[in-house]
Symmetry: C3
């Protein structure tokens, strides 16, 4: 597999949390990639990437925490101007972040047992998302 | 151009949002850099880097959201001790983050159309900022 | 020293802030590592990594700001289900982030004077933490 690949994912939007750990890990399988860093990057400005224990309770808890920072029901200048209704999605994505750098060794990501790579789609409608996985050896 | 360069930017401080996408992209122009990862890093502890749609409404919205986390007008132990008055600047910068890893291919950053690289200066006075752009090929 | 090493740290938990800048920098000492990027990554899902001025006032201020997002005393579905009592720890760690990419040159991290690499252990008990430091030259 080449060192740069993409993962395409159809989301439901509206705080959709999707565990992509297995798909990212696969990019290291059966490779000459022994040691290095994987950069996971999501394009777009209304979805983010996060490391977390992928567990239904925490999904609900993280969603609620982000809504303290970016409530759905409040004034957004973005919405006033563009009428998209997804001001909270943009702000949440920017705060969560859209890029992760994860080291690997012996072809395995050095994640903890309860530490998954999770895509969160904040947009207010289903989206097709593209994630880049870039492997740097060294 | 060498693989490590700097971008110097004079800001106005006070939540100054500056789009640096074009300047970062230029570092890949006319290069032998075909594929790899660009690390964008800002020094200092009162400014951050974020990926966002660079649009006046969202600038206002993100500022407001960060002020829910780090209000300007509240008690900061940092201010009480040092009298700098920029406790909110430090906290906002730490939460937003100061480093981004972005993959590139064919000499182009793999950003979405509405996804810009933005410097946010939270300090309470104008600053000269230094940003490192480091290109790793692979 | 090899390009991938670990730092083991015993924390007290409960918002324990520990400056690991010197330990990360040491990994570049006396090396052939001239220029590149260091990825600092913490395993687990209840601790984070942040860049900040390591100063007692700001430690208190950042803690308070994160508690606006993830208060200790509120309902967490994670706690309701698992009884761990550390729902706020998970959420805080996810928001702060667990991976940093920092460029270096001439064997030195390109940090600002008031910009330290800080481990924050949010868990509600002492933990032994493992941090990976991976050096990529280029």
């Amino acid at each position: 597999m080449p060192s740069l690949t993409t993962i395409a994912i159809n989301t439901r939007g509206d705080y959709d949390f999707i565990d992509i750990t297995a798909e990212v890990s696969q990019r290291l399988d059966g490779q000459a990639f022994q040691e290095g860093v994987v950069t996971v990057f999501i394009t777009g400005s209304t979805a983010g990437l996060v490391l977390m224990e992928f567990e239904p309770g925490l999904i609900q808890d993280l969603k609620k925490a982000l809504q303290r920072v970016a409530p759905v029901e409040t004034y957004y200048a973005h919405n006033a101007k563009w009428g998209d209704g997804n001001g909270h999605s943009h702000v949440s994505a920017s705060i969560l972040g859209q890029s992760l750098a994860i080291p690997f060794s012996s072809g395995k990501l050095l994640l903890g047992t309860w530490q998954q790579i999770v895509l969160v789609d904040f947009d207010n409608r289903p989206r097709q998302r593209q994630i880049y996985v870039k492997i740097i050896q060294g």
